[in-house]
């Protein structure tokens, strides 16, 4: 199970990479592994303004569907359209294939996110 030290995490298994006022958001190795083969990703519209906790995307595996939530508030400035034709990229390289890029509403919300050690503990508890 892969965990990257330099990323931030949410308790819902999203990873967040902050660059200036932008944040890249995807799902973790733990999440893609639990889902199994991902066969469909429903992406949001660019320009959508969402709060922390709102649903960004829906990911469907062969046997189930799972929602991806905004870990912090922001405006969607880019969606990863590669995932429309190749949803399995998330299984193959979960940290290299972000789902959305957002412009953060309030960068202080990053303080609410988990560091890698706290996230690892959550994963251990769930197993």
């Amino acid at each position: 199970m892969e965990f990257l030290n330099e990323l931030k995490y949410s308790k819902d298994h999203e990873w967040i990479k902050v660059e200036g006022n932008k944040a890249y958001i995807g799902i973790t190795d733990f999440a893609q592994h639990s889902l199994g083969d991902i066969v469909f990703v429903e992406l949001p519209e660019e320009g959508a303004e969402l709060n922390a906790g709102d649903t960004i995307a829906s990911i469907e595996s062969v046997k189930s569907a799972s929602d991806v939530y905004m870990p912090i508030g922001g405006t969607i400035i880019e969606v990863n359209t590669k995932l429309e034709d190749a949803p399995q990229l998330i299984n193959e390289a979960p940290y290299e294939n972000y789902i959305v890029v957002i412009e953060m509403t309030d960068s202080e919300e990053i303080e609410n996110l988990l560091d890698v050690e706290s996230y690892k503990s959550i994963c251990e508890e769930e197993e």
Partner: protein
């Protein structure tokens, strides 16, 4: 939950266990898609020990069988197998089964795991003089080895020329890898393959035998779980009880009318099926492929292009062999001969094209 004798092997091979009909079974080991593709291109091995088995014996056994099934048992000979729905008085399906004919006085019926108890009760309720029914599910474990390489792989473990065991035929007291079993050329995947029944105490040994490699052998089957079993059968448009079939759906509506022989002497459900057949079907099973992006699932509603609800999806999902999102739906007959309708997926009406079944062509050995 109940466990088959292969439980430890499932864990050893990385099986992700789920509750299926009260049994703890592997939904996948590595990836549903990889396991599916292994069956289509090479071979997969499934633990299907959760299936039920009933023995029907007696001087009236054949008459009994012909009374409870819609297909005609008199069409098959000793050593052959028949597939049939079993109907209730309303013509709805109690279960779909396969029946192995030993001789006119001895038959083995294989029952869906989810219906075993119900089926045995149904059989017992309908017996008459000259026929005895026994639930022998606990005496059998079962492995299914499916795929184009299945025969080649199993051939290593027997002197018998497996190419002479034809489709829908079986041999009992067969020795496979030195283990006694019942072997049939049957399956639920749309590929060539075999189902092997053995005593529970021999099941794990049999799995290990089939999975054993020596230096020269390249191929052994890939362990495949219930997830792949479902995607495979869906592509082959094989019905799944609880989806395409249930107590309220007749085999005529479910697309399996070729297994219903209305000209047979009386059988349970015959009168109702004849009435329905004469007055015309009100609904029918159709196959579809999504045109708009979205994954159809069982229970989702089907709408005509005009927005009228016309039916419901019975099975749906991603098809690894065709790389499309496919499904089957029971819809109102005569609604419109459009070749398109819509599936309601998460509040949106998404377009689908109606296609002929199956989605994937079977390649059975003859």
């Amino acid at each position: 939950m109940k466990r088959t004798p292969l439980y430890e092997l499932h864990k050893e091979f990385g099986g992700r266990m789920v509750d299926f009909a009260g049994w703890e079974m592997p939904i996948q080991y590595t990836s549903i898609i990889k396991e599916h593709q292994a069956v289509r291109t090479n071979a997969g091995i499934f633990d299907v020990s959760h299936m039920g088995e009933a023995l029907v014996e007696g001087s009236e056994a054949q008459n009994f069988i012909n009374r409870i099934i819609t297909n005609d048992i008199t069409r098959i000979r000793d050593g052959q197998i028949i597939y049939s729905p079993m109907c209730n008085e309303k013509g709805g399906v109690v279960d779909d089964v396969i029946i192995y004919k030993y001789n006119d006085q001895k038959f083995l019926i294989v029952l869906n795991a989810s219906n075993t108890k119900k089926d045995v009760e149904w059989l017992l309720m309908n017996t008459f003089d000259g026929v005895g029914v026994t639930d022998i599910s606990s005496e059998y474990s079962q492995l299914a080895i499916q795929g184009p390489k299945a025969q080649e792989i199993l051939q290593r473990h027997t002197e018998y020329d497996l190419s002479s065991l034809k489709f829908f035929r079986f041999i009992d007291d067969f020795m496979l890898g030195g283990i006694k079993c019942l072997i049939s050329r049957t399956g639920y995947t749309g590929e060539d393959g075999f189902e092997v029944y053995t005593s529970p105490k021999d099941a794990a040994n049999l799995w290990n035998k089939i999975m054993s490699k020596d230096a020269s052998e390249q191929d052994v089957p890939m362990p495949a779980g219930l997830g792949a079993r479902d995607t495979l059968r869906m592509e082959a448009a094989l019905p799944l009880y609880g989806h395409e079939l249930n107590d309220d759906i007749t085999p005529l509506e479910a697309g399996i009318s070729n297994f219903v022989k209305l000209s047979k002497p009386d059988f349970i459900g015959r009168d109702k099926l004849i009435t329905i057949s004469k007055s015309g079907l009100k609904r029918e099973l159709t196959g579809f492929v999504m045109e708009d992006r979205g994954i159809p699932r069982a229970g989702y509603k089907v709408y005509s292009l005009d927005g009228e609800q016309i039916g419901v999806v019975t099975s749906g999902g991603y098809s690894p062999s065709t790389s499309q999102n496919i499904g089957m739906a029971i819809v109102k007959k005569g609604w419109n001969t459009d070749s398109e309708y819509c599936i309601q997926i998460r509040g949106k009406l998404l377009k689908a094209s109606v296609v002929k079944l199956p989605f994937y062509r079977k390649s059975y050995k003859k």
